[in-house]
C-alpha cells in the first residue's frame, strides 16, 4: 500500500531515511554572513549607522526570494551587491536628488574582491594623494583625525571661516578624483 504524503513532509529518522536540515536556516546563516559584507560596503559610502542599517535591511528584504533558493555564497554575494547598488542609487537619488547618471561611481562598482577595510584605506589614500597640500591637510585633520573646525584653523594658522571654505573646496576636488576600485 502506498501512503501519500505531502512533498515537504519529513518523516521520523529511521534506517534508510535521510534527515533533511531546514534549508531556510542554512540560507539565513549564509545570507547573514554575506550581509555583513554588504553592511560594511554600504557604511563605507553613507558614513553613518542609521542609514547603513536601513539600506542593509532593504537589501536583505529585496533579496529574500534568492536567498531562499539555497544558492551558494558566491552567487548570493553577486546578487546582494547588485541589489545593494540599486538600493544605494535610490538612497542618493532620494536624499540628494542625484540622478543615476551622476551616480556612476556607486552604480558601476563591481563586487568587491578585497576586504572592505583594505578597499577603503587604499581608496582614501589614493584620493588624498591627488589633492594639493592644503586640501589634503584639511581633509586629513577634519575627517581622518576628527578635528573640529576651530582645531583645524589653529593647526593651519587660519580662521574658522576660511577653513569652512577650504573644506568645501577640498571635498569638491576630492569628489572629482577618479579612482578605480
Amino acid at each position: 500500500m502506498t501512503i501519500d504524503r505531502p512533498p515537504d513532509a519529513v518523516g521520523p529518522a529511521g534506517s534508510g531515511d535521510v534527515l533533511q536540515l531546514p534549508i531556510e536556516a542554512r540560507a539565513t546563516d549564509i545570507a547573514l554572513g554575506e550581509l555583513e559584507i554588504v553592511y560594511a560596503f554600504i557604511y563605507a559610502r553613507v558614513g553613518n549607522r542609521a542609514d547603513a542599517e536601513d539600506l542593509t535591511q532593504q537589501v536583505a528584504l529585496k533579496a529574500i526570494p534568492r536567498l531562499r533558493q539555497g544558492a551558494p555564497a558566491s552567487a548570493i554575494r553577486g546578487y546582494l551587491f547588485a541589489t545593494a547598488r540599486s538600493v544605494l542609487g535610490g538612497f542618493w537619488s532620494t536624499r540628494l536628488g542625484l540622478s543615476e547618471a551622476e551616480l556612476h561611481e556607486d552604480l558601476a562598482l563591481a563586487v568587491p574582491q578585497v576586504a572592505p577595510s583594505e578597499e577603503r584605506a587604499d581608496t582614501v589614500q589614493r584620493i588624498l594623494a591627488e589633492l594639493s597640500d592644503n586640501y589634503r591637510r584639511v581633509l586629513e585633520l577634519r575627517f581622518l583625525h576628527g578635528y573640529s573646525l576651530k582645531e583645524v584653523a589653529a593647526e593651519m594658522n587660519s580662521t574658522v571661516g576660511a577653513v569652512k571654505v577650504m573644506q568645501l573646496r577640498a571635498l569638491r576636488a576630492a569628489a572629482k578624483v577618479e579612482v578605480s576600485e
Binding site: 547573514l32 555583513e36 528584504l61 536624499r95 551622476e102 577603503r120 581622518l144 573644506q167 568645501l168 569638491r172
Partner: protein, 219 residues
C-alpha cells in the same frame, strides 16, 4: 547660513556626530562634496560590522518572511496595482523604498472589481477566528479575511506601495509588508501616520445562508 560652505559643514558636523545624512539643497558639486565627506567619515571609523541587535533583527526578518511573497506582474495588476507592478519584472522591485514626497497622495481603499469576476468559496465562517486575519485566494485575487461576529470583511493581500504579499502578524494584530517597514490594520489602513501609504484595496466578500464565505475573485 545659506552659504554653501555653511550648508556642507552642517551636514559634515552631523555626520561626524554619527547622525544621518540630510539634504540641505545645493548644486551638483555640493552634492558630490557631501557624498565624498560621507566616505571620508566612514574611512575614519574603520571597518564596520553590524550591531548585534540589528543582526538579530535582520535574522528574524529573514526567517519570518513568508516563502511566497513575490507576485507575478499579472497577479499584481489583477489586485489593482498596475503602476507599481511595472517595477517587478526581472525580480527586482524599483529603487525607491519610500513613497516620493512629490507624488500626489492616493487614499487607496478602492474595491477590487475583476472584469469577469465570480464569487469563489474560500472558507467556512466557523473556521474564521474573530480578529485574526486569514489568507485566502479566489483565483488570482489574494485577500485577508477578518471576522467580527457574523460579519466578514476582506482586504487585498498586496501592499499598497510595493507589490509584495503581506503576512498576518498575529502578535501585533497587523498585516506586515516583508519588503519595507509598513503595516496595515484589519481595515486596511496604514498604521504609521509618518509613513503615508494608501489604504489596502478592499476585496468584496459575502457570507452565504449556509455559512460559507465567498470572495469576488477570478475563474
Amino acid at each position: 547660513m545659506n552659504k554653501p560652505e555653511n550648508r556642507v559643514d552642517k551636514i559634515v558636523s552631523e555626520l561626524l556626530r554619527g547622525r544621518r545624512l540630510k539634504l540641505r539643497g545645493g548644486d551638483a558639486e555640493e552634492k558630490a562634496a557631501i557624498t565624498t565627506a560621507a566616505r571620508l567619515i566612514a574611512a575614519r571609523q574603520g571597518p564596520q560590522r553590524m550591531n548585534p541587535a540589528f543582526r538579530k533583527h535582520l535574522e528574524k526578518a529573514l526567517e519570518s518572511a513568508p516563502a511566497e511573497h513575490w507576485l507575478t506582474r499579472r497577479a499584481a495588476i489583477v489586485a489593482g496595482f498596475g503602476v507599481a507592478a511595472g517595477a517587478v519584472t526581472g525580480g527586482l522591485v524599483g529603487r525607491a523604498m519610500e513613497p516620493a514626497a512629490a507624488t500626489p497622495r492616493r487614499r487607496g481603499g478602492e474595491p477590487v472589481n475583476p472584469i469577469r469576476g465570480r464569487w469563489v468559496d474560500v472558507a467556512a465562517l466557523a473556521d474564521l477566528v474573530d480578529g485574526q486575519g486569514k489568507r485566502v485566494t479566489a483565483g488570482s485575487v489574494g485577500a485577508f479575511l477578518f471576522r467580527r461576529g457574523d460579519t466578514v470583511t476582506a482586504v487585498s493581500s498586496i501592499c499598497s506601495h510595493l507589490p509584495c504579499e503581506l503576512w498576518w502578524n498575529r502578535g501585533n494584530s497587523v498585516l506586515d509588508c516583508p519588503c519595507h517597514p509598513a503595516s496595515f490594520t484589519a481595515d486596511g489602513k496604514s498604521t504609521d501616520p509618518t509613513y503615508p501609504l494608501p489604504a489596502l484595496n478592499v476585496v468584496h466578500v459575502r457570507v452565504t445562508d449556509t455559512g460559507r464565505v465567498e470572495v469576488l475573485g477570478t475563474a
